[in-house]
Symmetry: C2
Subunit: 254 residues, 2 copies
Amino acid sequence: MTGTLFVIGTGPGNPDQMTPEALSAVSQATEFFGYGPYLNRLTLRDDQRRQASENREELDRAGAALRAAASGAIVCVVSGGDPGVFAMAAAVCEAIDSGPVEWRDIDLVVLPGITAMLAVAARTGAPLGHDFCAISLSDNLKPWNIIEKRLEGAASAGFVIALYNPISKARPWQLGKAFEVLRAHLPHATPVIFGRAAGRPDERITVQPLAQADAAIADMATCVIIGSAETRVVVRGEKGDLVYTPRFMSGGNR
Amino acid sequence: MTGTLFVIGTGPGNPDQMTPEALSAVSQATEFFGYGPYLNRLTLRDDQRRQASENREELDRAGAALRAAASGAIVCVVSGGDPGVFAMAAAVCEAIDSGPVEWRDIDLVVLPGITAMLAVAARTGAPLGHDFCAISLSDNLKPWNIIEKRLEGAASAGFVIALYNPISKARPWQLGKAFEVLRAHLPHATPVIFGRAAGRPDERITVQPLAQADAAIADMATCVIIGSAETRVVVRGEKGDLVYTPRFMSGGNR
């Protein structure tokens, strides 16, 4: 008897940005696993059980969810944003990879969601309008020298850069250091977007030039987007400035 | 009298992957602009007018939509996927940047959507589970030498790579050449995912090792994801293999 394991994303927190597909999975499942604040975004029935865990216990949470699914339950693992971007889908796959062979028979259904960088980009114009990358700034996940190498490689190759996990109490200096690294490769006026809680009531979007970018503006709910040398700002006055990266670079065939 | 310009994304084509927020914009607008196949994804009322245009006429389309909004209409520009990723939001910002100053007063509302790489990733596990980039392979948009430089930079820095616009009748050789470039930087067994029409009835997902990756599998509806050296395959038999990129690299603080 093998159940189903849904892995869903709630989007950045605005209920209108959660897909009908993910909502349907929520209505089907009876056991929910996730970080508490993400589970709090769902409206559950009395017959639906939630098991909240701390933010850094992803692999244990994935194992508990897989055990429940292996015993026949319909289970839902809940991420914020998109479950495949620095989130629970990879933890579930890792747990299957190293877990009992029966877990490979579980019906695993990963459902995409709106990831933070897309929501932040939409609020400012189109900063991700051309080639871009997403980097987790957490050096819990990889050595800092790898992060610096990726920042340098991305900036010098002309990618717009979205930074996830930019800062936390345990990682206070990394974002400032990242700006310092990027200043050696990008124009001083390159726009830096601090997108906090995009689409939620406590949203706060700030745009600063890289030369003055202040890491202290960011918190754990912030996604930071750093433009490329091509990224432009359209000054609009009271409507707020637009930030976009053009679709074309000179020298294309068109 | 200045109207509103919504720029929305339908997601990859499965109606259950379109957000309630985007659907609400569709119900408010009366004038619709977009590439015909994307407009066809919407169910419109008799009082709603659609103006379909060809795929490569983005800037003209953006101008027409802005003129309609400037005259007071509620207008909706429709992209597939997410409007901010290689799509109409950048074209609209470009048109505002170079257009009449009145266009800066238009109420511009960009609403995010599920972009192709997230939908494809969800169907295969979690290939985007760690740092990744998105590159348009169209050399209509930028010179081919820049594309090669970005492919090399991304692969050698350890990013998973999602390729948009991988192939078309006018661009038949670029994807094969991209695989050739990447083979010099990545292990032969690196998984390559061809994700065609993810979430739609005609979906076709194929995974091949980079050494044998066959560009002829891709078409215009395909998003190609190339793993990093860290990306793993979990063999599952009849459930289909899982592809994921682990959250951790050895050497992190945890």
